[in-house]
Symmetry: C2
Subunit: 274 residues, 2 copies
């Protein structure tokens, strides 16, 4: 998917919601746990319930890899199911990979060819070698960790360099020269909204994938006010506050309700701010 397609999907659906498929089997309702492919069945119910309110899904790979081969299979099934349900949905592998040269090429193959993901999250620590191989795949995206939403983002990401700028800004400014707004996004957490406005000044055009809304405390309105650009430029990710809002056999109905509420708020913000 390219930049214009993503933007027009956002406008058409009136939503910049990304549903995080952090599908932890320990939190599933009993009747789902009893099924043959519980992760896939859980995801299928969530996708059926939320696809009309979302422009993106983001499976976090840890939850799948923790289940070994069975988890890996259900990840592939999930990606196929999203594609079948709504081909306009942007699918992100939240893999936080970061490796070099040939190894990075193989990750690109795994996520962009073996499975039909649109984007993959990448850790920038090892530098350009670990990002470049993902930038050569047409209509595929590298989403680079910049300022994450966790408390220990302070350990290194916010560490000041000799220039006086924090590390995450160096990561953004440097990696903006490797790719373009057509193939690069950044992870910028919702938990530091004041930073978001600052970041928009030196990174006006790129999309940001914004975690940290919901359970972690960030707000959609604040993220939009500080981070939206003239092509929206935001994918706000919500995981637990949608998929585990209810843990009974009504989980999908409640997930739909939560996603609908958020999409309604987003539609208003898009009309007001775009």
């Amino acid at each position: 998917m390219n930049y214009d397609e993503l933007y027009s999907n956002i406008v058409r659906k009136g939503s910049f919601l990304c549903v995080g498929l952090d599908s932890d089997p320990e939190l599933f309702p009993e009747h789902i746990s009893a099924l043959a492919n519980p992760i896939f069945e859980f995801n299928k119910a969530i996708i059926d319930a939320t696809a009309q309110y979302s422009v993106a899904y983001k499976p976090n790979l840890a939850f799948y890899e923790a289940c070994g081969v069975a988890g890996w299979m259900q990840l592939a099934m999930t990606v196929e199911y999203i594609r079948k349900t709504d081909p306009s949905i942007f699918i992100i592998a939240d893999a936080k990979r970061g490796d070099i040269g040939n190894t990075a090429k193989l990750y690109a193959k795994a996520f962009f060819e073996k499975m039909d993901f649109d984007a993959i999250t990448l850790a920038p620590y090892m530098g350009r070698d670990s990002v470049d191989p993902f930038l050569t795949c047409k209509n595929k995206w590298a989403i680079i960790l910049a300022l994450t939403s966790n408390p220990s983002a302070e350990d290194f990401e916010l560490e000041k360099l000799e220039s006086g700028q924090p590390l995450f800004r160096k990561v953004m400014e440097e990696s903006m020269t490797w790719g373009t707004k057509e193939n690069t996004m950044f992870v910028v957490g919702a938990t530091r909204p004041e930073k978001l406005a600052e970041i928009r000044e030196y990174c006006p055009d790129h999309f940001f994938l914004v975690p940290g809304v919901g359970t972690q405390g960030g707000s959609i309105a604040e993220v939009a006010a500080n981070g939206m650009n003239r092509h929206c430029g935001l994918l706000v990710n919500v995981s637990r506050a949608i998929i585990f809002a209810d843990r009974s056999d009504k989980f999908a109905i409640v997930a739909a309700e939560k996603a609908r509420e958020m999409a309604t708020e987003m539609a208003v913000l898009l009309k007001t701010l775009l």
Copy 2:
């Protein structure tokens, strides 16, 4: 495996060689490619040929994940086969993971419980949250990327902070306070041997996993001279220069020969420097 066991295996075998199982199917001899589980069969031949000269194996997960479910299964088969061949061997998942909280816990479960790895490589960008969950597993290890062997380590790892110190040093000094030499190692590349001596001064006791010897140009003697401590403190990884030293049907014989040469050099260095 704990620190003392690892050290005594090094002394007993007279080797600190880690064989990197960067098992790229595109480089396999034809008779291997024709088999049902080519990655596993290739690894099995390499393990049979090199186990007596090695104290560790390090599958790089990209090569397995690129083959999807089949690759993931062959990774599990490889770990089991190493354990069966020689239970004293240290097995490293070169995964370069880095995620937070619950997600990191699930990675720990995937690599330390579902599969019987001894250690996992981790990217430190997101800070302590992304490392802590790996430090609570008894006799398991977190191997944190510090100064990697690739050229673009210069992009961020060598970037100077306000303190005047490079980022990788901050990463090491900070993370040395999270764990101990019993559960934490660092990745320090062989391609900058002058840095290795400098690093040993402020990190005297920890093991280093050292990539970059062989194809990337680092030398075993230089690494040992600059990086060895009184418990050896080194696992020198060699991948392509062993496993793809020959690509005919004699690949395993040549791999054994290369590993034997390196282990012989290491035995002399251990006698001289320990």
